[in-house]
């Protein structure tokens, strides 16, 4: 029963937290974007961009802090493209997101090859740990507390959420729908970018092609499972983090390890099948704002 004790070991708990960080940041990012009605599946590519930018900047400046900041900036940059395409030019949100994901995959792989000749780059330094955990983890927790407060207790948060539910109503009281949507999308880019930077600099200590490995999508699944609330998203992301932590930690007799590694993805599917339909997304998800007259 070795595997059973492994599940409940403190090390599994810590691994869960570490795994949950990029997923929960993506989930929260998705939530900010969708709270204004913009679907952002580019989160996947944004994580990858953040990881890559963070790695390069950390290695060239020697500062993981600068690396993380650049990861955030790269995320905002990607998100800006998404906002321009889907808000200003009213492109289909999904198509814009797919394009950005393909772009991120290609560009990071290409630049990694050009810069280092390989598809894997190791990160040379990371932030000093605090109580055994990366400071980014504490920052993430703080971000969640702040977001919960921001979205539900502040004027701007109310305006963001109203935009995702009824754009015409928001417009009719003199609030700019476009500004709200840009804000939501850019925040989502910043958060997912941070998640990517954390993934490369703080967690894996290397960059490798395609290292986001579905975390952006799992983040979106967490957002849905969490019913578009910050705390729900955090809980769901933790569940996925737990399943990712387990996949490397347990090996159950007669069950092939490869099967266990599928676990996070299987759980994603199971959760989505179970949760979708009951949760209602923001009413304006994926819609464009067309002003009349």
């Amino acid at each position: 029963m070795d595997w059973l004790t492994n599940i409940f070991a403190i090390s599994t708990l810590l691994a869960t937290i570490r795994m949950a960080v990029p997923i929960s940041l993506a989930a929260l990012g998705g939530l900010f974007s969708e709270s204004t009605g913009v679907i952002n599946i580019a989160l996947e590519g944004i994580i990858l961009m953040g990881a890559f930018a963070g790695t390069i900047v950390t290695n060239t400046t020697g500062s993981p802090l600068l690396g993380l900041i650049m990861a955030v900036v790269a995320g905002i940059g990607m998100a800006l493209i998404h906002a321009i395409a889907s808000v200003t030019f009213k492109a289909n949100h999904i198509i814009s997101g797919v394009a950005l994901n393909l772009f991120a995959t290609g560009v990071t792989f290409f630049l990694a090859l050009v810069l280092t000749g390989g598809s894997q780059i190791s990160v040379e330094s990371s932030l000093p740990k605090f109580l055994g955990l990366s400071p980014v983890i504490y920052v993430t927790v703080a971000i969640f507390f702040f977001s919960g407060f921001f979205l539900y207790k502040t004027k701007l948060g109310l305006r963001l959420r109203a935009t995702g539910e009824h754009m015409a109503a928001v417009d009719s009281v003199g609030i700019s729908v476009t500004k709200m949507r840009y804000l939501g999308v850019l925040v989502s880019g910043a958060l997912a970018g941070l998640g990517g930077g954390y993934l490369a600099i703080e967690q894996a200590n290397f960059f490798t092609k395609g290292m986001s490995a579905g975390r952006g999508f799992i983040g979106l699944a967490s957002m849905i499972f969490g019913k578009w609330t910050p705390w729900g998203a955090a809980g769901a992301a933790s569940l996925f983090g737990f399943s990712q932590a387990l996949q490397f930690r347990i090996s159950i007799p007669f069950i092939p390890d490869e099967f266990l590694q599928m676990l996070p993805y299987l759980i994603t599917i199971a959760v989505l099948v179970g949760a979708v339909g009951r949760a209602t997304p923001p009413a304006e998800d994926g819609n464009h704002f067309l002003k009349e007259g």
Partner: protein, 528 residues
């Protein structure tokens, strides 16, 4: 006369020569419109006359192509709703601008939030909202979620939203179209209270009764033009109706004698139970014969909707039987009913009656598209469908650029005509018509009524459910009053009055249960 004094004073708002063109439509054609301070001013006209456009220009949603707007005798430029708000003009839209998942206080304050350094002060907001509501005579729970509230309450929230922004002029776009009679009554009270507080009110409506009840003055529009402004004391419903339509209108329908033939439908002991185990429709029986209109009167929400939905196969009866021409159709679905020759004009045309994203043709065949004339084994007969739709557009005078136009671009009246055209074109033996003229203009109402009477003359049966007593009175041969799920009275239409029906509708009186049942099943008329 006191009232006349302030009407004679300089108008608060003057719109001069307003013109607005949309692609292919001249929505406002050099319109003049003025409103005096403190008056209730009705703006009437058929669908598409340009009323909403004119008011959206005043509220800064649409930009005008030409014309001037004066506010307190000063030329103003209202380029967006914000500018209108600053002048103290607020608008309650026909389609509510509320965010359903948010609370009442969040909805009302949105955009003018009460906040300290960005942090919402909801307590202060709630207090202010309660005060505002009390001032105009109602109570509201500011913490409730809008999605859980009735249409009537939502409209009050919209009014509060406008008042919260300290509007002195309120524009209401067809405020009563979505309300039940009781809700209309309390809206009247609210508007009267607002007038007493010195507010100026412009309200758009189709319903001439409301104009006569409420307004000080009325402006009529037709085809984008202003055709006249009248003081209420100096005009009549008939005059206004003629101005709106541009010709003589019959406010009363000509009902020819129709021979009553065979019994078409016999319903016995129908009961509908909701998921909480409550009987929404209880033990209802009736029969309708060829050439007969059976009207069901009642205040909305007394089980009419549920009765219709179960009859037309959308929902199920928990007990009872329905026979049509001797065959049992109690559990038949919509498709089987259509095959039996039972047509249905649903209560809510957007929800049940049509798919607005579909074209006129597609909506015209909807529900009949599997019938042989529109579909072979594999393919739809598209040409045939278009041809029939074109004929119907012609015959029913549906205003649409083409049959390929999407249903959503039709005005409400034309959408309704399309649904009526669809159901009548299939030559049903029995037509179930629920609120067939709700929210449409006088001209279209007249048309629909005429068509329904024509069907009756041809020996068709009609089950008419309506909350408009005038409609019930003028079309029906027999009238049942529905109260709390039961028929509480049945009359021959020429033996009763609106006032009498009104008494039964409130539930303060009822006839003997056996007698109601006998009369509803038509047993009295058999002894004639």
């Amino acid at each position: 006369m006191e009232q006349d004094n302030h009407l004679q004073a300089d108008p608060l708002i003057r719109m001069k020569g307003i013109t607005k063109r949309f692609p292919g439509v001249l929505a406002n054609d050099s319109v003049d419109f003025s409103v005096g301070e403190g008056e209730i001013h009705a703006l009437v006209g058929e669908n598409g006359a340009g009323k909403t456009t004119l008011m959206k220009i005043l509220y800064g949603i649409y930009s005008k192509d030409s014309g001037r707007i004066y506010f307190e005798d000063e030329l103003v430029n209202i380029e967006d709703p914000k500018a209108a708000s600053e002048l103290g003009i607020g608008m309650v839209h026909q389609h509510f601008m509320l965010v359903p998942p948010l609370s009442v206080v969040d909805n009302i304050t949105l955009g003018s939030e009460i906040a300290n350094r960005g942090i919402l002060d909801r307590e202060e907001g709630k207090k202010r909202i309660k005060e505002l509501a009390n001032d105009i005579g109602f109570d509201i729970d500011p913490e409730a979620t809008v999605a859980d509230l009735s249409v009537g309450v939502r409209q009050r929230i919209e009014i509060l939203k406008v008042l919260f922004r300290e509007a002195e002029v309120l524009i209401l776009d067809e405020p009563t179209a979505v309300l039940t009679p009781q809700e209309v009554e309390s809206l009247y009270n609210i508007l009267n209270n607002l007038q007493e507080q010195g507010k100026t009110i412009i309200f758009i409506t189709h319903k001439l009764n409301e104009v006569m009840d409420l307004a000080d003055r009325v402006t009529v529009m037709r085809d984008g033009k202003e055709v006249g402004t009248k003081e209420i004391q100096k005009t009549s419903k008939n005059e206004l109706a003629n101005m709106m339509v541009g010709r003589e209108v019959l406010l009363r329908v000509e009902k020819e004698k129709a021979e009553r033939g065979e019994e078409l439908i016999r319903a016995k002991n129908l009961t509908v139970t909701n998921d909480k185990g409550v009987n929404i429709v209880e033990d209802i029986s009736f029969s309708i014969r060829e050439g007969e209109v059976f009207g069901v009167a009642g205040v909305q929400g007394n089980g009419q909707t549920e009765l219709i939905e179960a009859l037309t196969g959308i929902d199920d009866f928990s007990s009872g039987t329905v026979e049509v021409n001797g065959s049992n159709i109690t559990d038949a679905d919509g498709q089987e009913l259509r095959e039996e020759g039972i047509g249905h004009i649903p209560e809510d045309r957007l929800d049940r009656g049509m798919i607005t994203e579909f074209t006129v043709t597609e909506n015209f065949v909807l529900g009949y598209h599997t019938f042989e004339r529109y579909s072979s084994r594999l393919f739809l007969k598209l040409k045939e469908m278009d041809r029939h739709a074109e004929e119907a557009v012609e015959e029913f005078d549906i205003k649409t650029p083409s049959v390929k136009t999407l249903g959503e671009s039709l005005s409400g009246g034309n959408q309704q005509k399309l649904i009526v055209a669809r159901e009548l074109s299939q030559q049903p033996k029995l037509l179930v018509a629920a609120q067939p003229t709700r929210g449409i203009d006088v001209g279209a109402i007249e048309f629909v009524h005429e068509r329904l009477m024509k069907e009756r003359a041809r020996g068709k049966g009609l089950l008419l459910v309506s909350s408009e007593l005038d409609e019930i009175m003028s079309l029906s041969d027999r009238i049942a009053v529905m109260y709390e799920g039961e028929f509480t009275a049945v009359f021959d239409s020429d033996e009763t009055t609106k006032e009498e029906l009104g008494v039964y509708m409130t539930g303060s009186q009822r006839q003997d249960t056996e007698e109601v049942r006998r009369k509803a099943l038509g047993k009295v008329s058999l002894t004639e």
